[in-house]
């Protein structure tokens, strides 16, 4: 069995929780282990969504965010698309564990995505796309 899901939401952080719930439920359908459906997926997806809304679309109030989910028994691929100009992932990624960063309020989003997912790709395709892959870890 194979499920592909596409969602489109207005660029508004209040949609994040609902999208996360829908996606996590979809993965629960494939009985992904609990820590993946309750930690890795929700947190990594929230980060990608809030970056897409606040950083990518930013002040473009009529913009949308698209989420594409592709799940099989073995792996989950999440794509988050915004209408922004994109960014350099490597350059923007910081290590929040460094003493100088530890007490900063921001800058943990991309780091958590890399920690919680097996692979992150960023590319442009009529907008900015962040693609995250998670293998099933039992």
């Amino acid at each position: 069995m194979h499920i592909a899901l596409e969602l489109e939401i207005p660029s508004d952080v209040r949609y994040i929780e609902r999208v996360v719930e829908i996606v996590a439920k979809q993965c629960a359908q494939f009985s992904y282990p609990q820590h993946q459906t309750s930690l890795n997926i929700p947190v990594a997806l929230s980060e990608a969504l809030s970056n897409a809304i606040l950083r990518g679309n930013g002040d473009r109030t009529n913009a949308y965010v698209q989420v594409k989910v592709d799940v099989t028994q073995d792996r989950l691929i999440l794509e988050v698309l915004d209408e922004g100009l994109g960014f350099n992932f490597e350059e923007c990624l910081q290590d929040p564990r460094e003493p100088d960063n530890l007490e900063r309020e921001d800058g943990r989003g991309l780091f958590l995505m890399t920690q919680l997912m097996d692979r992150i790709e960023r590319f442009s395709n009529q907008g900015n796309v962040v693609r995250m892959t998670l293998k099933r870890h039992d």
Partner: protein
């Protein structure tokens, strides 16, 4: 998601019900800062009813902790489930906060 704030002894206890994420962290921040303003100095955030926390939720805890320390107070945490513990460990925030396994323990040792 909602926040229940109550006072136990001289400690302000905040229960985070549901998610602590970009959509609601501002509310938590404001409510704790209001108590700080009123003169409260000891704060305990209890996560027994919490789902997931994103980086902006973590960020709010860090910045509240700093502001409270600047006033001579302290912010402690209790009842992190395994997922939340992992999150604090990944970001090394477990080294920044005093974290208790239970609410009772946190209240006793404050």
């Amino acid at each position: 998601m909602s926040f229940a704030i109550k006072k136990q002894g001289e400690i302000v206890v905040v229960d985070v019900e549901g998610q602590l994420i970009v959509g609601n962290r501002q509310e938590l921040k404001q409510r704790v800062l209001d108590e700080l303003e009123k003169g409260e100095r000891k704060f305990l955030v209890d996560f027994s009813q919490t789902g997931y926390i994103d980086s902006s939720g973590l960020g709010v805890l860090v910045s509240l902790s700093k502001k409270i320390r600047e006033q001579g107070g302290e912010l402690r945490l209790a009842n992190l489930n395994d997922d939340l513990k992992t999150l604090f460990e990944l970001t090394k925030l477990d080294t920044l906060f005093q974290i208790s396994d239970t609410r009772e323990r946190a209240l006793e040792t404050f």
